[in-house]
């Protein structure tokens, strides 16, 4: 029995693929090559050889890989995965047809092979569904990472001074990202001082306060001092009420006040040279 299907599949490559190509799949379904890498023949051929190996080993590993690849590609290019379903159906239908022609005299054999094909069709569909969900989840995860990265810029302000403006809600995942970004930013810029501006964080609860403290402590271990600025009255009250020890952490109410302190630490002096602000409307400033 096992041997039957292996034999049939191995011997009937040209018949099966020939029928597939002639079938109702058109280039529109296959996305006219773009993304699916070349002609329909290649797509069917790869699936056929994957299945050949799998039938021999009675697994679905290779086919799964192949279908997974197609699904990832479809998701990546934002295409419908329905055509993929059709491709698998056509492969199996064509195979059944080929078996019918080949073993015209042995209806029992044909129905056994058809049974096998049906089993593989069902399994392949399951794999397709799973791969699609997985590929979509992967895309969403990547986009999330990308957004996270965008949302925590570390800005080199002056030699040795970094600014980390935090905007939006901070959850555990984002807090970790912030810490990672800041610490590598410190090492990269060899910065001694970091201004962390939390005025853009809508809710600062115990959890956020805890993450902030950990970030400040880790930065200190590297050799950088942090100044937390933009602390609003509500947050100050939260800290006092919850009895969180912000003891050794330097805080200032505004970014300006923090900058002034950082300048002091670095022996910078901010001084206006000459008269007032030039009139912007006249354009040239020389």
């Amino acid at each position: 029995m096992e041997q039957e299907i292996v034999e049939f599949w191995a011997d009937s490559r040209d018949e099966i693929i020939g029928k597939c190509i002639k079938s109702s799949v058109n280039d529109a379904i296959l996305g006219s090559g773009e993304g699916y890498q070349g002609s329909r023949e290649i797509v069917f051929d790869r699936l056929w050889s994957a299945l050949l190996q799998d039938i021999q080993g009675d697994t679905l590993a290779k086919t799964g890989e192949e279908i997974g690849r197609l699904a990832r590609e479809a998701v990546k290019y934002g295409r419908d995965v329905e055509p993929l379903q059709r491709i698998i159906e056509i492969l199996m239908e064509s195979a059944e047809e080929a078996a019918r022609t080949k073993y015209r005299e042995e209806p029992d054999r044909v129905s056994r092979i058809a049974g096998y094909l049906e089993k593989y069709l069902n399994k392949a569909m399951m794999i397709l569904a799973k791969s699609t969900v997985k590929a979509q989840a992967e895309v969403i995860r990547k986009q999330k990472d990308y957004l996270l990265e965008l949302s925590t810029p570390v800005i080199p302000l002056l030699d040795g001074i970094l600014v980390l403006p935090l905007i939006g809600t901070i959850d555990t995942r984002r807090a970790k990202q912030i810490m990672d970004n800041l610490l590598s930013g410190i090492v990269e810029a060899q910065a001694d001082t970091v201004l962390i501006d939390i005025s853009g964080v809508p809710i600062v609860d115990t959890q956020v306060a805890h993450h902030l403290m950990k970030t400040v402590q880790a930065a200190r271990l590297l050799g950088a001092r942090c100044i937390i600025v933009g602390i609003r009255p509500e947050f100050a009250q939260t800290i006092v009420k919850l009895g969180i020890d912000f003891g050794r952490i330097v805080t200032k109410n505004s970014l300006q006040a923090g900058l002034k302190l950082a300048f002091e630490w670095h022996n910078y002096e901010l001084r206006r040279v000459g008269g007032g602000v030039p009139d912007a409307t006249t354009g040239a400033n020389s």
């Binding site: 997985k134 989840a137 995942r173 970790k176 990672d180």
Partner: protein, 132 residues
């Protein structure tokens, strides 16, 4: 599935065990920080074996649960066991003159941490870390 076993008999095995764990973590695609977290946890667990049980073993292996991938640490020794696990897991508690940060620290570095100990029988620890 990736799996490595280190036997722990003396302090020289501690570094070998954590190097091995770091390699496994790297191969599984853990971030640099996670590799260091895992290696440090192994260091603490292996040192506990050397200090209290004299000998034992640490197995590090790949973990797969549905879509999630991770790493599992299995620690086993036939030492005297821990009389009071809750106390041993408390920050700052040490019977060997250390910082008392070993077990509680290792727990914080991992995602899940289960410890079983029988007096006179030994101690087993199962700790897991999932890929972010």
């Amino acid at each position: 599935m990736l799996e490595r076993r280190s036997s722990i008999e003396n302090e020289l095995d501690i570094i070998a065990a954590r190097r091995c764990a770091k390699e496994v973590a790297k191969e599984l695609g853990f971030s640099t920080v996670d590799q260091v977290r895992i290696a440090t946890a192994i260091s603490e667990l292996a040192r506990n074996i050397v200090l209290y049980a004299k000998e034992g073993s640490i197995v590090v292996r790949a973990l797969c649960e549905g879509e999630r991938e991770g790493l599992e640490i299995l620690v086993a020794d036939k030492g005297p066991g821990i009389p009071n696990i809750e106390l041993a897991m408390t920050d700052g508690y040490s019977t060997a003159g250390g910082l008392g940060a070993g077990l509680p620290g290792a727990r914080r570095l991992m995602d899940t941490f289960r410890i079983d100990s029988q007096l006179g029988q030994g101690t087993t620890i199962v700790a897991r870390k999932w890929k972010a």
